[in-house]
């Protein structure tokens, strides 16, 4: 990887006129796009792992600490008894915990790496793959957002609106909201 910006413009250019984020394709930085693309793909994957696993743990915590008498009584009458509540969730919880522990350091490392690269070479923030991933993330978080509200409304109509379903909504909405807002501001920054 070559971290030194190349001043002499050769070949064709990508970007807008005298924009500092303008990327000029030269012999020396021909791989920058691939590198930035790779970093962003891996970074966003670790972000998705981070968000889903921490959401899973928080959802399970809500299930554990906020009791639903309907669920408990149904489970108590089932063949497995109270084990039926948690046998599947336990596996999912362990996977989530493991995935959170693995994805978080990767996420942090990549976050710092990308930010440093963007500071040294502003043009690194202007690749299409980055924009594409940001817009995909915005769309996905928006869908989660919508889904959480629909679910709560459904629970209300279904007669199963409890403190628990509201807290589930809060977990989903707050995680997707943080990501959504962060990238909305990132887009705003890009447009400056």
């Amino acid at each position: 990887m070559d971290d030194n910006p190349v001043q002499t413009a050769r070949g064709f250019t990508v970007g807008h006129g005298d924009d500092p984020k303008r990327f000029e394709l030269t012999k020396n930085n021909a791989n920058l796009g691939m590198w930035v693309g790779f970093l962003h793909v891996v970074f966003f994957i670790s972000l998705y792992f981070l968000a889903t696993s921490s959401a899973s743990i928080l959802h399970e915590a809500v299930n554990r600490f906020v009791k639903d008498p309907l669920e408990l009584e149904t489970a108590a009458r089932s063949y497995l008894g109270l084990f039926s509540i948690s046998s599947f969730k336990e596996y999912w919880l362990r996977y989530s915990l493991a995935s959170l522990i693995v994805s978080y350091p990767i996420f942090t490392f990549l976050f710092i790496l990308i930010k440093r690269l963007e500071m040294k070479r502003p043009e690194a923030g202007n690749f299409r793959i980055r924009h594409l991933l940001i817009y995909i993330t915005l769309t996905v978080t928006f869908i989660f957002f919508n889904y959480a509200f629909i679910k709560v409304l459904y629970a209300y109509l279904d007669g199963s609106l409890t403190m628990r379903s509201i807290l589930h909504m809060v977990v989903t909405v707050s995680i997707s909201f943080v990501i959504f807002v962060y990238y909305l501001f990132a887009i705003k920054e890009d447009r400056k």
């Binding site: 981070l50 921490s54 743990i57 928080l58 399970e60 915590a61 554990r64 600490f65 009791k67 408990l72 489970a75 108590a76 009458r77 089932s78 063949y79 497995l80 008894g81 109270l82 084990f83 509540i85 948690s86 336990e90 919880l93 362990r94 989530s96 915990l97 959170l100 522990i101 978080y104 942090t108 976050f111 710092i112 930010k115 500071m119 962060y182």
Partner: protein, 263 residues
Amino acid sequence: MIKNLLALFVLSVLVFATVGLGFYLVGSPLETRGLKFDALRLQDIGKIKIGIEDYYRDNKKMPVSADQLLEKSTSLVDKPYLEKLPRDPKMSTAYEYKDLGSGKYQICADFETSTEAIEERKTGVDQSPSPLSNLYAYGSETRLHPKGNYCYEYSIPQYSDGTGAAGQLILLPPVAAEPPKNTLIVTSNISGVPMTGTQADTGGTTNYTLAMTSEIITTITAPSTSNGQKFTGWSGCNAVGNQCFAVVTGGATYTVTAYYAAP
């Protein structure tokens, strides 16, 4: 960059809190491992239980020690009751078996976890007064156990005795059914009338009840006068004069009444 690092710091705090929460929710890996060993122990106890029931069905007695389950079965072709005696998966010690007499027996194992404590952790419901799942779940009585040495007590079901229908869980020794009783109730509209009967023990003073396992075939004779009142007739039986012919069979109950009136 400072702003980004600050955001990263806040995120780190949240992630560490979530990881801690996650560890609290899943329980320690050691406990989870113990739970898996306990599941194997419960399986083994189930196997020994089936072996003992098969042994009882063939021999009409309880095995003295669990080793007798390795003997060849008389009903299964060339097969012992148990191919191999299960041993504790971790300690590889034998499970304790004890004959308690009258078709009851115990199988003991050393458990590493307490079912109640785990259900409590997993569901957040206090299990100590009465385990919720124990109230309704089928088979839960054979699954609940405390931590440490615990003995499950079982009874030989009647079908292992070859007398009851399969699946009929009546405990041994089977309760002998009482033979049906034939009942004759002799009453009168005035009390204290002495009656005589042709069959032994069928006389008495009204109102009285005869309950016999043998058939009642008797003639009850009412006195023509009693307490200054005159006999007028019988109801509930074939009567000739003051004689009432009563036949009670098949566990039936009949009531006969003698009527008296002022002369």
